[in-house]
Amino acid sequence: MNLYLYLDKDTPIHRMDPRAKLFVLLFSFALPLLNQHPLWVAGAFAVILAYGAAARSLENLRRIRQILFFIFIFSTLVWTFFAKGTDVLIWRVSRQSILYGIGTGLKLDAMIIAGMVFLSTTKNEEISQGLILLGLPYPMAFAFSTALRLVPTFVGAGATIAQAQRSRGLDIDSGSFIERVRKYIPLLVPIFLTAIRSSDGLAMALEGKGFGASTKRTFYLRFKWTARETVVVGLFLALVVANTYLTLTGRTLIRGLMK
């Protein structure tokens, strides 16, 4: 089972300096967050999708489609009832609260997709290197990228452990809430111990290969900030600035929404 999101493709976006990819990630988080009205959020959504399509990374959408679907439905429903608007349709539901719910659902999905595109186009090593180039000390950058790298490992171990216990007759989906919580113990104990053991192994492997031996570490991957990076990052920056202006002047809000 392969749980890494990274797609080894040769697109201009893959080849970009990791700093540029980090900036794009930051700006593509900002774009949906700046807007309230679902149409505007949808615009930000479209920008992110276009960027992902240019990086030929949208095939990963298939792998996270359930999460996206669930989050969209959940937040739309929740905000439809909890947000308040002037044009009440029925009980707590108003025209504005529906719009707000849809907007929020789209927002969250857009941000998840932005993250997915980033991980699909950026190797772990590039993430840590990008962070270093932005001024983070190497051990911290390495810890960050290793944490990302360990997620799929632990998910994999968790899946194996769940299979092992189900083979012994564990049926997690039945019983009362308390019973179900108790049923997780046979999963959590081995997962926890496996995690400790493999972190220990990883630490030994790292030290054993000279991690931290020399204060001046070199990097095999080399990147250059070229005109391409400036153009892409500049484009996103311009979008963020324009959007900020429109938001401050109230043009991306839902009229009649009461907070």
Binding site: N2, R166, S167, G169, L187, K209, Y220
Partner: protein, 574 residues
């Protein structure tokens, strides 16, 4: 100067009274190829960790004596500094490989030492070529086979250009050809690059390539010497829980008088053949045939109706990978089946269909006349028990009793009967009396037994075991397999997934060989193992004694069979 110089070395892990190694003295000269062997718990891994200073710098405990690597005492130096001279390759390649692709994995070491990027590029090229992984630069390590991953781990050690490489059981999880490749690479490095090699290994046939073999037991070195000399002492190896070379074992069993006219004990198939000729040995083919038919009759006497029927089974994973491509298979009650094949050939995917862990994406699997897709896993697991490869993926309880009782309790067995079942299951696995022990304090071999007992207590008709002997030493392997054999004789249908060819030869009735998701060979082990060429195509190699027998035209599976049909009491009977 010696590459490694160990003097009076003792170490006890923190929190443990027992010394893991005690009073070890050893000197290894530059360019030497040393293989370290011995039973589980002998202190082999501990010894490896002392060489690059992980003990005592990373793993703490009571340390005395000294280890010098090219004159540098490891105790006073940082592990990462020592990595310039000595790099360890661990058994578990999942934790030591952490990069996104192959070339970055190889680059990691030199990057740490501040090597110039252009030079790193050259080293990547050279080391990948050396371990025959050139062309794999951009591949994700997760997509490599086990053997390739282990060779990648070696490459990532080599790129640092150390003078010593130490490998702790590098071939445990590998198929026979994968094992051979790892040793081939190690051998080349020591001969051509004058690199010092220390490898912990269980496989004697591979160890034959070494210059020297060191045997450890109970934390001490019990014997060392020229590889041939050590391997020519089957009794000594057996004492250290190392499986002797089968050809040597055979000739040794002929007795000192009958054997070699002063010649050396033959160790390889070729040497065996010339000794066979020199001694004028002859086999009684009729005797072998009657032995074989008696064995077959006994095995088949226990067979019943089909219990698992697989028809045109296809399994496609979500990512589109087709792991099984039309498998047909019928397993009858009471059979003992070994599923063989290269890493990634679909063995585990296949057997996971038998208890409903995976559902067919095409074709069907019928267990006890019920389609697995229409039956809940809870129901299936009452019929089919599954012992996973790593017992640590399932052990969670605080006592052995609770661990073993877990399954029966889930199935709603009354507490009184649970007790009886646990007692029976623990007796079957030879752990009677350890009900109240903490399963985590047991050895790997014992934990494996707890895992088997916990499946056994649910009284399934069919028991699947994924790699039941991996990570165990020879004696542990033998007793685990004897246990499984007993279960089979008690009427359980046994299905094992294994890389171990001798285990298959000595215990299984039937071998099913998979290649790229299809069954390429299926039949009695004896009939499958004579097809040496076809096996080589799927990266498998029959055990030494089978290859030896084949050259003599004798389809034997074990040393005992060959001894029986050379039959020196033949004359007495006539």
């Amino acid at each position: 100067m010696n590459a490694v110089e160990v003097q009076g070395l003792s170490f006890a892990y923190k929190g443990s009274e027992r010394e893991a190694i005690s009073g070890v003295d050893l000197a290894i000269s530059p360019g030497e190829f040393v293989v370290l062997m011995g039973p589980s718990g002998a202190g082999k891994s501990t010894f490896c960790l002392t060489l690059n200073g992980l003990i005592p710098n990373f793993k703490k405990g009571k340390y005395s004596g000294e280890v010098r690597v090219f004159g540098v005492p490891t105790k006073k130096h940082k592990v990462s500094d020592l990595a310039r001279d000595i790099v360890l390759v661990f058994q578990d390649f999942e934790t030591q490989i952490f990069s996104t692709n192959v070339e970055l994995e190889v680059a990691f070491g030199p990057e740490n030492f501040g090597v110039d990027p252009d030079e790193i590029g050259r080293r990547i090229h050279a080391t990948l070529k050396r371990v025959r992984l050139d062309g794999f630069e951009a591949r994700q390590p997760a997509t490599l086979s086990g053997g390739q991953k282990q060779r990648l781990a070696i490459a990532s050690a080599l790129s640092i250009q150390p003078r010593i490489i130490c490998m702790d059981e590098p071939t445990t999880d590998l198929d026979p050809i994968g094992k051979f490749d790892v040793f081939q690479v190690a051998d080349e490095l020591s001969r051509e690059k004058n690199m010092t090699m220390l490898i912990v290994e269980h496989e004697t046939e591979e160890a034959l390539k070494a210059d020297r073999i060191v045997l450890m037991r109970d934390g001490r070195i019990v014997a060392e010497g020229n590889a041939r000399a050590i391997l020519a002492s089957p009794a000594l190896l057996e004492e250290c829980s190392v499986k002797p070379l089968e050809v040597a074992e055979f000739f040794a069993s002929l007795g000192p008088g009958a054997s070699l006219d002063g010649g050396e004990l033959p160790l390889t198939v070729e040497e065996g053949l010339s000794a066979w000729e020199r001694l004028g040995l002859a086999a009684d083919r009729r005797r072998l045939d009657s032995l074989v038919s008696e064995k077959t009759r006994q095995q088949q006497a226990g067979y019943g109706d089909p219990v698992i029927e697989v028809r045109n089974l296809v399994h496609r994973y979500e990512n589109g990978l087709e792991a099984l491509r039309g498998v047909d298979l019928t397993i009858r009650r009471g059979e003992f089946v070994a599923v063989l094949g290269q890493n990634g050939s679909g063995k585990t995917t296949l057997v996971k269909h038998f208890n409903g862990l995976l559902a067919p994406t095409g074709g069907e699997v019928v267990v006890n006349a019920r389609d697995t897709r229409a039956t809940s896993m809870f129901e299936l697991s009452k019929t089919v028990g599954y012992v996973f490869q790593n017992p640590d993926h399932q052990i969670f309880a605080q006592t052995v009793f609770d661990e073993v009782a877990y399954g029966p309790r889930l199935f709603g067995v009354p507490e009184g009967e649970v007790k009886a079942r646990v007692v029976d299951a623990l007796e079957a696995v030879g752990l009677t009396g350890s009900e109240e022990e903490d399963p985590f304090s047991l050895t790997k071999g014992q934990r494996q037994r707890v895992a088997v007992a916990s499946v056994l207590a649910a009284k399934p008709e069919v028991i699947i075991l994924d790699e039941p002997t991996t990570g165990l030493d020879y004696k542990e392997q033998e007793s685990m397999m004897d246990l499984i054999k007993r279960l089979n004789e008690m009427g359980h249908t046994i299905i094992i997934v294994t890389h171990s060819m001798w285990v298959t030869a000595a215990y299984a009735h039937r071998a099913v060989v998979l290649k790229e998701g299809q069954v390429v060979m299926d039949g009695p082990v004896r009939d499958v193992f004579v097809r040496e060429k076809e096996l080589a195509d799927v990266f498998l190699k029959p055990p030494q004694i089978v290859r030896f027998g084949a050259r003599l035209g004798l389809p034997v599976l074990t040393v005992d069979e060959l001894v029986a049909c050379v039959g020196r009491e033949e004359g007495a009977r006539k």
